[in-house]
Assembly symmetry: C2
Homo-oligomer: 289 residues x 2
């Protein structure tokens, strides 16, 4: 991991860690929210928000509230995704999932409150109101019924019947790429980027998001259980359609390379200082399973 990435992560952790001041009366709610929000991870989405703010000429920390907002949406979706009525997962990053730790009721509410908190963070940012409003709207669209949640609905269906190639692509564009796209474009908006930069950020995010999901599917099939923090082969065992079950490992690997290259190509022309983003794509999508 490069130094700048570590610095970004430290800034993000500090912001997230200070966002909730616990009230005695409902301390368990705060605890459940912080348990999931501060459980580590690569912080890819918020790092992308900070870096896209920088490459369009802003100071990275201008985008911190937007970065945190995206991470809160991501975290709430993981909490709800792990529930018994959804993926029914007991472990995430090697720790008990939120509902295992705090019970289902509190886990549902912690997720709900994290979604509200995301909009509070974005809309209370120390930036002009038109920028805050635009960023909040990007986030609402990315998170909602035509964005991330649509992807989860299709994903849920994919656990009960095989999905077509077109459907699988829709799952990933919505479930994963939508929020990555929000992170990148909110960074562009925070830094005052141009419309051309905004469009390039969308192309980058969609390719990166798809690549990321392909890699996730490959990891589930051939990854290392200790590194992954969850059981291997669970997708195939549950009959779920993934890039690997649909195309096989070799074709999935080739698609991962294609999408990684597409993400990197999207950057050229629109931004001058793309070194970090190019490294980021290679690092995130690298072949170390």
């Amino acid at each position: 991991m490069q130094e700048w990435y570590k610095n970004y992560v430290n800034q993000i952790e500090a912001y997230l860690g200070g966002f909730f001041q616990a009230k005695v009366a409902w301390a368990p709610l705060y605890e459940a929210m912080r348990y999931s929000l501060l459980s580590g991870g690569k912080r890819i989405r918020p790092v992308l928000a900070l870096e896209f703010c920088r490459v369009v000429g802003g100071a990275p920390d201008q985008a911190l509230p937007f970065a945190a907002a995206v991470e809160m949406i991501h975290t709430y979706s993981l909490i709800h995704d792990d529930l018994p009525a959804m993926d029914d997962d007991d472990l995430r990053r090697g720790r008990p999932t939120c509902h295992i730790q705090y019970g289902e009721g509190l886990a549902i509410l912690a997720g709900d409150a994290l979604q509200s908190a995301a909009f509070r963070a974005a809309l209370a940012a120390d930036l002009p109101e038109d920028i805050r409003c635009r960023a909040g709207l990007i986030l609402a669209r990315a998170a909602g019924e035509d964005g991330m949640v649509a992807g989860q609905v299709l994903d849920l269906e994919g656990e009960t019947r095989p999905l077509s190639e077109a459907e699988l692509s829709q799952v990933h564009l919505h479930k994963t790429a939508a929020l990555i796209q929000a992170a990148c474009t909110m960074g562009v908006v925070a830094g005052g980027g141009s419309e051309a930069q905004y469009s390039a950020a969308i192309r980058f995010a969609r390719a990166l998001g798809t690549a990321f999901q392909i890699r996730d599917d490959i990891l589930d099939a051939v990854g290392d259980e200790a590194t992954l923090g969850k059981p291997i082969g669970s997708d195939a065992a549950s009959g779920k359609t993934t890039f690997v079950t649909l195309y096989g490992i070799e074709r999935a690997e080739a698609m991962l390379t294609e999408q990684t290259e597409a993400a990197k190509t999207a950057l050229s022309g629109a931004f001058t200082d793309t070194e970090r983003l190019l490294w980021l794509a290679d690092w995130l999508l690298g072949r170390e399973y």
Copy 2:
């Protein structure tokens, strides 16, 4: 019900009914969202938003997106509240609850998407960006971990142990009054009201919200099952602390009167044309159980 109220409700229903354009791929999600959002009810919160916009000098329909946003938050909270891990209710307004109709997974996601949609509605309103941003922030604070969700956490605790008077009051201020307050103040913001009007709207909303919850507790104890659309006496049977279990019916009735009067008093001085709001308080909180 007065004519102006019916007109407001018609505007609100039309707005809500047209907000989601169903995509084929995830039609079940839209169906679950619309099932709960368009299931009738008095539409108290959105009506308050429109009327507060009017009494500060705005056109009521300026506040329609804000009104709809509050109703979407309210609806999502009902969907999640009815889940087996929360109140475990099978019926709402005489119809199967969302998870009974569509399954738990889809009900959780429909609630999640309604919350995102609420922010989308508020932030995409046809109003200046500073007003949209301010309204969105009011909504985020009211809905989140120091607002409505905090109330639900305390409410959940109240199902496992008796609550103190102070705690019960906190439940209601957060669970019910927070969102009513958001509705009233977002109306004031949409109509360009003064800070004094904003403060008066807060006082009105807190008293009305508390009164509303007291009435709800009385209804649960002595109401008519057919009118209510759910079983009578369920609070007492489950050992839940309510205004009625804590104070008895007579004292609860007296508190309801006090809070109703407090709500009406809050209006005087700040607004000139309060006739509709005075009627509304009496009508909502009337003694027809």
